[in-house]
Every structure is written in structure tokens, then in C-alpha cells.
Amino acid sequence: MNPDPSGLAHSLSPIDLPEPSAPLADPLRWTSLVIALAALSLALLNADAIRGWSYQLPPGAASARIVTAAEGWHDRLDRFGLNRPSEVMRGWWQSARDRRFGGQGSSGGSNPRIRQANASSAAG
């Protein structure tokens, strides 16, 4: 019995997949459509990240225009509730992050050296 019927174990690159018997049509169009729709869904559902990115641009006239546009986009989507899913997920993740083992205090607890080390490593 052939232990590697797909041939994956002998591929030179991870992207070398066995091709299906019937060729899949129009690969470039398919790929471009996937990229376009992924970008569109992120633009609609992750306006907060776009706004955050615009705040980190180097100051200047062009970046000021980008910030205004990003804030406007964020506010417009907020009216439709499209920022809500990412806010909810961030909240869930933050509450998972904040959970502690029984008897364990907040990060660093009462150890002043740990609190100082945390502050220093965060600053560095």
C-alpha cells in the first residue's frame, strides 16, 4: 500500500497540493475575488483597526486627511452597528485574559519586584 497517496510528503513546497481530476476554472479571477471580498469585509467590520492605524501615521497634511476619513468611516459604520462584533470579541478575549487561577491576584500580585519588572519590560 502506498503510505502517501497524495504525494504531499515528497513535495518541495508546502503549496504543492495534488491537483483535482477536473481542473478548477479561472484561478486568477477566483483569487482576486477572494482578496477583494476579504478586504471589503474587513473594511466594513474592522473600522476600529483602520482608525487606529491612521492615528499611528507620521503627522502631516496627508495623514490628517486619512485620519479624518478613517474617523468618518468609523462613525458611519458605528451607526449601523458594524463595529459591534469586533468590540464584543475584544471584550470576550479581554475577560479570558483577565482570568486567574484560584488564589492568584492581579498580574504581579503583591510582589513589588514583579510589578516593577512588569512596568520596566512594558516600557522597554
Binding site: P14, I35, L37, L40, L45, S86, R99, Q104, S107, I114
Partner: protein, 467 residues
Amino acid sequence: MLFPTLTFGLFFLAVYSGAWLLKSSNEWRKIALLVASWIFYGWWDTRFVLLLVASAFLNWGAARLIVAADGRPGLRKAVLALGIAANLSILGFFKYYGFFLVEAEALLHQLGWQRDLAIMQVILPVGVSFFTFQGMSYVIDVYRRETAPAGLLDMTLLMSFFPHLVAGPIVRASHLIPQFQRVPEMTRSMAAMGFTLIVWGLFKKAVIASELSTGLVDPVFFDPAAYSGIDRAAAVYGYAVQIYCDFSAYSDMAIGLAALLGYRFPHNFNQPYRARSLQEFWRRWHISLSSWLRDYLYVSLGGSRHGLRRLCFALAATMLLGGLWHGASWNFVIWGALHGTVLAAERLWREFKPAGWRSLPPWLDIVITFNIVCLSWIFFRAAGLSDALDLLGASAGGGPAMLTPMLLALILFGMSFHFMPRFSIQQVAMRLRALPAPAVGLGVGLVMLVVDSMQPEGVAPFIYYQF
């Protein structure tokens, strides 16, 4: 320009569109990719684009001279030596100049020479070790007649191509130049695998590596003496997971991005923490570097052709130099020496193991190998030798202060990747490619949204950017 940022996302959208719009002319397509790669690299420091171009010219020229000297073995060898020396000089100046001057000054002070040497602050160009090794392998391959000499455009693009430029994989000329010489073809398999690798890499980097780094590893390695044994152990195992998720994420994204432009990059990671020996670990970890070290250093040092003593020397020297490749620091020397010693010991054990001794069960081999790797990671990660020794020394009492349920879950989750069926990612991609584009596009967008919601504020650079 970091991969998991919106700036890079916009850059890649432009490059993807331009590259496929220029599909009718391979030469213009390559020129566009070259310019894009220089913009990508110049985002850190425009001055170093000149270094990149000079390095490509140097290696292209050396290979041409080697070909021109065909029939004159002495001259060929001399050109090869000059080409390697020039590459090593670039690497040596940027990576080791400061280190050796500081060490020399300390030595002179000990000998009573109290004058200060003029120590210059040398900025390390991002990815210099990667593109220098890539250039060297090209010159050596041409000398060994293992690859045909490339045109200037192909050679410059080989060294500058942005997906692998700053942290590998180290793609050999024999692998990529033939792909540059024809118009690439896109298939849905390539694209589906590209999307899967990009999203998977994004998750490993932005969620697992970033969370472990900021929440556990960085604080504990900053002041190990302040933490309990549980926190220190968690930080060491956490770092093992962090560096895997960070570095393999970069490789995954690089391979995925190149796939979306129509190019195939080689494997770079293969579930390394399931290795049953250190020798196997190096067949699974940073495969493009370990195979580079094997083909160009270990073999040149004699390899296994001159008896056991020479083999052990070649192993130890290769790993020591592999350690120094990461940077000029005694910690990297210790890291390399540890790996070299254990590799030599494994070889000696195989040679002299008494007949009739039973082998260890596979799971115990894996546990022992993993813990040796983790021990070496302590020296790799610690800021200095004393920090590494502090971490290994007596710990503060008490329970965990930094380890939280989520961090523990991330360590276990990160470890579980090494024990999944080997081609799980490929299986996902094979299902995706058959789906309609709107479903895949929305799916990719939603998964990226989830990942973005989980990542800590800001994205730290990849660990291997510093090498």
C-alpha cells in the same frame, strides 16, 4: 513594514494587482516586483537598499567571473574565495564589528592598556544574514556547477524579493531562478494554500506569539530572580512556543504571499517539537538554514567523509558558527555549543551504544529532546549570560504570579500543533479551493477579524528580524 499590519496589507494589494496586470510581460513584471521589494526594504531605512543592491551586484559579478574563468581551476577558486570573503566582510562589519571591538577593549584594559578604542555604533540592516547567505549560496552553487549563472535582473530579484527578504526562508537560486524565467501560473490550489498559510501565520504570530511574549516571557526574562519556579518554567516553555509561533508564522506568511504572486517557496518548518533527537529537530526546524549549514559548511568541514573524530568536529563547528550567525553574543555561542555537543554525543551514542541495550520509548525521546531544546532557548532568549544563569538558579518561592489560565492554554495549544496530523493545513486548503470565491473571501475576512480582535495592542516585530 511588518506583515501583520494594514500598511503591508495595502502595499500587498498594490503589488498583487500590478504583478498580475503585467502578466503579459515577464520582464516588466519582475522589474515591478524588484521595485516593490526595494520600497518594502526601504521602509526601514532607505540607505540599506543600496547595500542590498550592492550585495546582489557583487554576487552576480562573482558568479560571472567564475563562469568566465572556466578551464582555469586556480582562478575559479580565487574568485570564489574573494566572493565569499566579500560577503563575509559585509556580514562581519554589520554584525560583529561592535562586539569584537568591545571585547578587544575589555581585553586591552585587562592587560593594562587604558586607552579607549573608537567604537562606532553600527546599525544592523534588517535581514542582512538572510540575504548574505542567499548570495553566498548562489556563488558557491555556480562554482560547483550546481546552478546556471543568472541574469542581473533575476539575481537582484532573487536576493531582494520581499516575501523572504528579511527572515527567510533562504530560497536557493536553483529553486527560484527557474521560476523567475517564465511567467508564473496561478492555480486555485496555490491560492487556497496561500490564503490558509497567511491566515494561519497571522493567528500564530498575532495571537499566540504576541500574547505569550507580552504576558509572560518578556517580564520573566527581564528579572528572573523575582519569579517563582512555576513562572520561570512556564516562561521557558512559553518561549519555546513563542519562538516557534513567531518564526514559523513569518515563514508561513512569506510562503503564502509568494504563492499569491505565483511562486513556490520551500518548506521551512515541519512540527519540530515532535523530534526524537536533536538531529531530527534540525531536519524540522528552520529547514532552509539547517540545509544551508549542512551543504555549505558541514560538508566543507569534512562532514562524515573523514572518520568519526572529524565528523564530531564538523558538527560542533557548524553549530557554533550557526550560533554566531544569529549575532555576536556569548549567549549565541553557548546556544550553538550546546546543540553541537548534543549532536556529537548523539552520533557517538549511535556508534558505541552497547549491543542489547534497549531503546527508549519514542515519547521519552521526544520529551528529552524538547527539554534540551528548551534549555538552549534560555541562552538564546536571555539578554546576557548572567540573566540566563539567574533563570536557571534558585527561584523565589510562591505560586505563579504571571502564568494565567489563558497563557497556559496558549502554551498547550501551541505545543499541540506539533502533534497534529502532518498535512492538516494542506487538507484545509484542499477543501477551500473547491468552494466559491464569495464564501472563501468572507471566511478569510471573518477569521482575520477574529484574529485582530484577539491580538494585543500593536504588533511586535518578528524575532528573526534582528538576525
